[in-house]
Amino acid sequence: MTQPSLLEGTQPTPASQPRLSMRGICKAFPGVQALSGVDFELLPGEIHAIIGQNGAGKSTLVKIASGAYAPDEGQILLDGRKVHFRSPADAREAGIMTVYQDWNLFPDLSVAENILAGRLPLNPRSRTVDWSRCYQEAARELQNLKVDIDPHMRTGLLRPAQLQMIEITRCVCAQASVMILDEPTAALGPQEIESLFDMIRRVAAGGVSILYISHKLEEVLEIAGRVTVLRDGRKIGTADCCDTNRIELIRMMVGREVEAPQKQTAVELGPEVLRAVNLGRGEFLDNINFSLHEGEILGIFGLLGAGQRQLVDALYGIKPADRGDIFVNGAAVRIHSTEKAKRFGFGLVPDDRKREGLVLALSVGANLTLANTPAISRGGLILSRRKERRRSGQWIQSLDIKPKQSDRLVKFLSGGNQQKVVLGKWLDNESKILILDHPTQGVDVGAKSEIYALLEELTHRKIAIILVSTELPEVLAMSDRILVMRDGTIAAELARHEATNQKLLAHATGGA
């Protein structure tokens, strides 16, 4: 591809011709139609945002553009020419580059080496790296984009915003014509965001087209020229950012109100089991106040990175709170380890079940009984295989875990059944306060509704549940009460009957 480099000045392609054009894109995954007939156009030098709820199809569309997925139907045109990407490397070769959230940088190499990674200038005669040219080139690239970072610096010492800038510089330097930024501000503070935005505008002014994905509507309105809204795998519309506003965008994202919530019976709430008062940790979590009752499902909704994970970490002792108080059954407690949290009756279903929820090399039976090994031992010391089989067998029956074998390794189970095992071990432990972090993530539709039914049943058994999710329908359907988080604090508390899609999104995206 011959894209003009920023250094040589730009010769934008005629404005009539889009840089990237995707037409009638369809993509299905087993059980889900992720995209149906989506058209999308990206003009040269344009900053174009894509927004939508979780599962609206944003990331699928972007992954198709960047070559990670192939579309089932539809075509992609780059500068008017039809292209087929078989891999992300293909797309990169063609000039479409993604700036990843988890910086793809080498922390122990210098900034210059990262910017020029894979293309270090060689001394033509000796075929060794020409270091002085390397630093010069990197310095020039940084200067062009007005990024004030020393190219000799070790990359690992930089702050998140600077890492992001290095990544962007690297893409520019590799002659990107389309740059995809996926939630680039997720880890940044307000000032850092401003300087990042300045840089993005400069890059775009240099002729690079930017595809910007974000949950944060205010940011989108500030940085983007146009915005495309997706919902349920369809394109709802494209608007000029100067002609639209947040409320209208939310309306486009949400559509009509969803049907009546699924949770059937309102359980008689029991006494308060958990109360958090002014809970906080560092700059990540602040001023958290809520209470939780026996038999209640408390939904915690927020956009990605709104502080939900930090709240879970604080409640469960993974990263303990450094201020505020937690009361369990009315008594003040300090939870500074997961061991303590478990002793106070907490159980956690983490959002990444393979990394944090299961011991994959152990059997289903062992995993189900792992939180409560005293119950399957004699004298609290020696394990009884018979007790293990019997106890885990009961859970396999009542949770309908398939296949019905306690000695099968848990890694051979499907996602839904694995999740039942993770949940089951806390039931086996008779934990009274369950924290469920995205409990239906990566679970098929059938298992999803089984898990919902199970949660409802648990509330009848006086278990209190904190349901953390970024999926609106799930939170709306299951919760008795909903806390909306934003920027590490609670932005709103809504009772079940007053919560709507629009209200939740409005609180989550800032301002009411």
Partner: protein, 335 residues
């Protein structure tokens, strides 16, 4: 599907199915083939005297490997073992020969020194979250040096008349079985029992298999890692007693070459370097295989240098069998 029936199947079938699905299956096959090969090649390979020699010759390696198995199972690594062997041997010699204390005190002292070094390894690694290789490389250097300095690089001769405790540890037999062999067998039975039949063992597999999940489970990951270091140190201390009792001296060269052999054996037995997979009897089988190889090649008067080559090849072969077996099992479960 065989795994469904294992709960109620006859004991023979259960043992067979656990052997077949075990990570040491390749080792077992190699062991049987090797025994057949050597018994054809050398007439005295199959003889009570040779079996006795073989068993005694692998007992120290077996003991060290038991501790290494535990430390790998919790997902850690300890390379300071040879320093423990050196320190414990010197301390045993010092307590008995210099201070004239009874053998029981010397033996307990040697084990305590091993456990003590384990405490240091464990504390530093766990408390400051330092890579265990770095911690134990440092303690390896430190305690090897301390053992050399305090002993002046000299052998401290031990006096163990027939019938005394130390003599039993070195040369005694019970029912015709050398005490050294009985000690190793006892340690392996204990290790097997703890790993397979106690809560502690179950939690060891959880901590090693997935530390993040173990933490989410409310297990104190650090505590299990720390204890593994201490137990590994104590086991090496006991191994040092066996070496010293047989050599009838305490000296800082007692541990040379053992760590490499032990890690080879443990990995050969299928214990994962990443933690959480493996077990006691697999390691014992691998120790037996390595010992048989050395023993047979010695009988055939093969030069020791070639024996190293042979054990390396064996390791690769066993890994190959393991890979093949995993692929087959994977296929079976995917259906």
């Amino acid at each position: 599907m065989s795994s469904t029936s294992s709960a109620r199947a006859p004991i023979g079938r259960r043992i067979w199915s656990s052997v077949r699905d075990s990570s040491a299956f390749g080792v077992l096959v190699a062991f049987i083939l090797l025994v057949i090969l050597f018994s054809i090649l050398h007439p005295r390979f199959i003889s009570p005297q040779n079996f006795r020699n073989l068993a005694v010759s692998i007992s120290t390696l077996g003991l060290v490997s038991a501790g290494v198995t535990l430390i790998l199972l919790v997902g850690m690594l300890d390379v300071s073992t040879e320093a423990v062997l050196a320190m414990s041997s010197v301390v045993l010699g010092f307590l008995m020969a210099r201070l004239g204390l009874p053998a029981s005190v010397g033996i307990l002292g040697a084990i305590a020194v091993g456990a003590g070094i384990g405490v240091i390894n464990g504390l530093i690694t766990v408390r400051f979250k330092i890579n265990p290789v770095i911690t134990t490389l440092a303690t390896l250097a430190i305690f090897t040096g301390v053992a050399q300095v305090t002993s002046g690089m000299r052998q401290i001769l031990l006096n163990a008349p027939r019938g005394t405790l130390l003599w039993y540890f070195g040369f005694g037999s019970l029912f015709g079985i050398p005490i050294q062999v009985l000690v190793v067998l006892a340690v392996y039975v204990l290790l097997w029992f703890v790993l397979q039949h106690t809560r502690f063992g179950r939690n060891v597999y959880a901590v090693g298999g997935n530390p993040a999940a173990a933490n989410m489970l409310g297990l104190n990951v650090s505590r299990y890692r720390f204890l593994a270091f201490v137990i590994n140190g104590a086991t090496a201390g006991l191994a040092s007693v066996l070496i010293s009792a047989r050599a009838l001296n305490g000296w800082p060269g007692a541990g040379q070459g053992f760590l490499f052999g032990a890690i080879t054996a443990v990995v050969l037995g299928g214990t994962s370097l990443a933690g959480g997979r493996g077990g006691a009897w697999q390691t014992l089988l691998a120790v037996l295989l390595l010992g048989t190889l050395t023993n047979g090649l010695n009988l055939l008067q093969v030069h020791p240098y070639w024996q190293g080559v042979a054990s390396g090849v064996l390791l690769l072969l066993a890994v190959g069998v393991e890979l093949l077996r995993n692929r087959l099992i994977g296929k079976k479960y995917e259906q």
